[in-house]
């Protein structure tokens, strides 16, 4: 059995080692300066980016890669915009050509309203990209059977959603997240749906290895402060898990045995 010390050591994904168990996105921030400060406050060491067309008509705020000091972070490109394995594989090859590293957050979306993954296409893309030498981190649903299949197909980690992307609803199916934790040996990173600090702590208390979030920080009224809260929540949740929580029980058990002056009436329903 692991000790508390083991459980608070580094997060290792593929060949990459991280002290921080919080991974953050770069999307939806009000401006690049807030983004930079929030990412800094989060303590994250891995940061996601998407891939998209250069705006040739209007020179906007410029390439996202210019706005962060990438010597400090590991880049995790995503395949956002992919609705098929073919699209996702094509995007992954673009990230390789852009020399963004071997990691890929594989998103293959099946439905535009829920942004839930199309797991059939996801599995296909995972297998092909893993064979092609990518370190694949698939964004998946909360199905432990699918998680196992993704690992068999070569995924380096699995990333089940807490709730839909951008919904901020927190962990809606803690039972299944726990099943996933028990089903696979690779890192489990809860990705999508974390809305506030307690959501992140709840996920970590289930025993997962890390959390990936974007909207939870970027859409907060004060993203920099929320990033700090999320950092603490991920650490607190991991420590609580490592500490081994007390058992839940239905009825009370006094915290002060032996207290009182001998006039205590026996409690309980009899």
């Amino acid at each position: 059995m692991k000790t508390a010390a083991d459980m608070t050591e580094d997060l290792v994904i593929g060949g990459h080692r991280f002290r921080s168990r919080l991974i953050v996105g770069t999307g939806k921030y009000p401006d690049p300066d807030v983004m930079r400060r929030a990412i800094d406050a989060s303590g994250a060491q891995m940061v996601t980016v998407a891939i998209g067309r250069v705006d040739l008509d209007r020179r906007g705020p410029g390439n996202i890669l210019d706005q962060l000091d990438w010597r400090r972070y590991t880049i995790l490109p995503n395949t956002a915009g992919a609705y098929s394995a073919r699209d996702a594989i094509r995007i992954a090859h673009l990230t390789r050509a852009a020399e963004l590293g071997d990691l890929i957050k594989l998103e293959v979306i099946g439905d535009q309203n829920t942004l839930l993954p199309d797991v059939v296409e996801l599995l296909r893309a995972t297998e092909e990209l893993a064979k092609d030498g990518f370190t694949v981190l698939p964004y998946t649903n909360d199905d432990p059977v699918m998680a196992k299949r993704l690992v068999e197909a070569g995924a380096a980690a699995v990333m089940p959603l807490a709730s839909p992307i951008g919904s901020g609803m927190g962990v809606v199916n803690p039972l299944n997240i726990q099943f996933i934790r028990e089903a696979v040996d690779v890192p489990v990173i809860v990705d999508a749906g974390v809305g506030t600090a307690s959501d992140a702590a709840v996920a970590m208390e289930l025993g997962v290895d890390g959390i990936l979030m974007n909207s939870g920080i970027a859409l907060a009224r004060d993203p920099v402060t929320m990033a700090q809260a999320m950092r603490l929540a991920v650490e607190a949740g991991r420590l609580a898990f490592a500490a081994g929580r007390m058992a839940e029980r239905r009825y009370a058990a006094t915290s002060s045995p032996g207290a009182g002056l001998g006039t205590r009436v026996t409690a309980g329903a009899g």
């Binding site: 999307g27 996601t48 980016v49 250069v54 956002a80 673009l94 050509a97 963004l100 990936l212 974007n214």
Partner: protein, 66 residues
């Protein structure tokens, strides 16, 4: 010659290379990736690949995302 650049038809110099096109557009090769007819052009080959009329060219970069 006419080709389709990021989804829009554009007029570009005849027989221009992918590398030449980036120069004309004021884009640094290190900041972008070029796809020609759904094939990625490796950065080292940008100057060698000549574009042809009707080509579907995508110029892509890393952008904000989660």
């Amino acid at each position: 010659m006419k080709l389709v650049l990021n989804g829009k038809e554009r007029e570009v110099p005849d027989r221009i290379s992918a590398g030449g096109l980036l120069e004309v557009l004021g884009l640094k090769p290190e900041a972008v990736v070029v796809e020609r007819n759904e094939q990625v052009i490796p950065r080292s080959r940008l100057a060698e690949v000549a574009l042809a009329p009707g080509d579907q060219v995508e110029i892509i970069q890393a952008i904000a995302g989660g």
